[in-house]
């Protein structure tokens, strides 16, 4: 079953796209996503995918073309980063509100300005309210696995929402790792055929997309979107179980965690979760009760599961690789703190903003976070609710 190859995150994504063989891909190149689309374009040029590749003039057009294609009944995909995602903004909301299961790989990169091409999560975090399901990946394998599952999640009849799969720019997109690739027919059987019940090209059952929707029905349509994304966790879990049967790799709402007996826990998303994991392994060998909670599904936010997972924990540090300017902390921190509000004995929770614009984070900094958590758990005092890792004063 399958094969083991060395691939970068971008290449693993292109490989998943090749196996998905979407009807339409509309994309515009942007660092660090470029190699994904470049490699996929080669597959198109060589005729090994049946995809209609639309070489658009901007990301706004890329997402618009995906919206048109998906409404017409096609399985549509794209990929972008940072400013490209920002340029798609308007159409991202439209894809979600028209209930079009567009699949997009977002290679996380800092938003300008000043201009920066390296990783942080400001791009995808900025679109967290657009109505997309968001899946964060730690490494190349997860980027590949999540993209394949995303097709099923998006197209599930009761969900029908676009899905964004993210992974860290350069750190993952350009790092070569061991990746287990499924057989082509395993993937095509797993994802099945996309059946759009309301296709623009179905002349026997004509349908109108995008009519004016004012105060009389707009609110009801938003309520439907809320319902769809709230129902999605059970679908994500069901598809995760099916994917495990296929690949042996299991995905739940939260990423793999190390929480057995943990008293001091770090919450992280993306590649940093891997760094934290190695620190946890090291400190656990020394007998320290440290743990990791990895964010996988950020939208919808699995608040209940996370609150349950953190029960009995004394202190939590949430690592955010993006800023919500003027808010009470980073986006993940706000969700976690709110999720713990109804707990009878909630742990102390602090926030660390880190890694903006690709600033590296090392094991020593993570060890220091655990030390701070130990002090907070011991003194029950939080001096600084939101701190910064790796920032020069």
């Amino acid at each position: 079953m399958g094969r083991i190859v060395g691939l970068t995150g971008d290449e693993a994504t292109a490989e998943a796209m090749r196996q998905i063989n979407p009807d339409v891909v509309a994309a515009y190149p942007i660092t660090p996503q470029t190699e994904t689309v470049q490699r996929f374009s080669e597959f198109v040029a060589e005729g090994i995918v049946a995809t209609e590749m639309v070489r658009v003039e901007s990301e706004h057009s890329a997402m618009s073309a995906c919206v048109g294609a998906a409404a017409a009944g096609a399985r549509a995909m794209t990929a972008t980063s940072a400013n490209g995602l920002a340029l798609m903004w308007e159409i991202c909301y439209i894809a979600a509100s028209y209930r079009l299961p567009v699949i997009m790989a977002v290679v996380n990169r800092a938003l300008s300005g000043p201009i920066n091409i390296h990783c942080d999560h400001s791009d995808s975090m900025g679109t967290r309210d657009a109505g997309w399901i968001q899946i964060y990946s730690e490494n190349c394998q997860e980027a590949y696995d999540n993209l394949i599952q995303a097709v099923r999640i998006a197209e599930e009849e009761k969900v029908r929402l676009p899905v964004m799969v993210t992974f860290d720019g350069f750190i993952i997109s350009h790092a070569m790792e061991r990746v287990e690739i499924l057989e082509d027919d395993e993937v095509s059987q797993f994802i099945g055929k996309y059946k759009n019940a309301y296709s623009l090209l179905d002349v026997d059952s004509p349908v109108t997309y995008g009519p004016l929707d004012l105060y009389d029905y707009y609110f009801e349509h938003k309520r439907q979107q809320i319902e769809a994304i709230e129902i999605s966790p059970e679908v994500i879990q069901k598809i995760g179980r099916e994917f495990k049967d296929l690949s042996g790799r299991y995905y739940d709402l939260m990423g793999s965690c190390h929480l057995e007996g943990a008293e001091l826990v770090i919450v992280a998303a993306g590649s940093t979760a891997g760094t934290v994991e190695s620190v946890v392994d090291e400190l656990r060998e020394k007998g320290e009760k440290v743990g990791l909670l990895k964010i996988r599904i950020f939208r919808p936010f699995p608040a209940k599961q996370i609150a349950e997972a953190l029960r009995g924990v004394r202190a939590v540090a949430v690592l955010d690789r993006s800023v919500s300017f003027g808010a009470q902390g980073g986006p993940i921190f706000l969700e976690i703190r709110s999720a713990l509000f109804d707990e009878i004995k909630p742990p102390a929770v602090v926030n660390y903003i880190y890694g903006l614009g690709g600033r590296d984070i090392g094991v020593d900094e993570i060890e220091r976070v655990y030390k701070n958590l130990e002090r907070i758990a011991h003194t029950k005092k939080v001096d600084e609710l939101v701190g910064y890792l790796g920032l020069r004063e």
């Binding site: 079009l100 059952s205 997309y209 009801e220």
Partner: protein
């Protein structure tokens, strides 16, 4: 028309029934209405060609009447009419019978 709840409408604002724009009456948007002078009309039907809202009703290849339920009063018909058989009058002079949109 009683408005439906969120569980009873198609998702995404989709309209699944073809040609139902007719149910949406836009006549009340009008500030000026076209008025037809039968004596000047040659039934060339340029008004029918130009009307953007399909509000010129034709019967047996002859102008019959305006569809005031949908005519928005843009005045294109009166501008295009070669014999000046259509002129615009203030809507306020007429009793407004439609309640556009409901």
């Amino acid at each position: 028309m009683k408005e439906k709840g969120w569980k009873d409408i198609p998702w995404g604002g989709l309209i699944l029934e073809e040609g139902n724009a007719e149910e949406y009456k836009t006549g009340s948007w009008r500030t000026h209405r076209p008025v037809w002078d039968e004596k000047k009309c040659t039934h060339c039907l340029l008004c029918w060609v130009y009307c953007p809202d399909s509000s010129i009703i034709v019967k047996e290849e002859k102008f019959k009447q305006f569809d005031y339920d949908h005519c928005k009063g843009c005045g294109i018909c009166s501008t295009q009419c070669p014999t000046k058989a259509i002129h615009m009058e203030e809507e306020g002079k007429f009793v407004i019978k439609t309640e556009g949109g409901k």
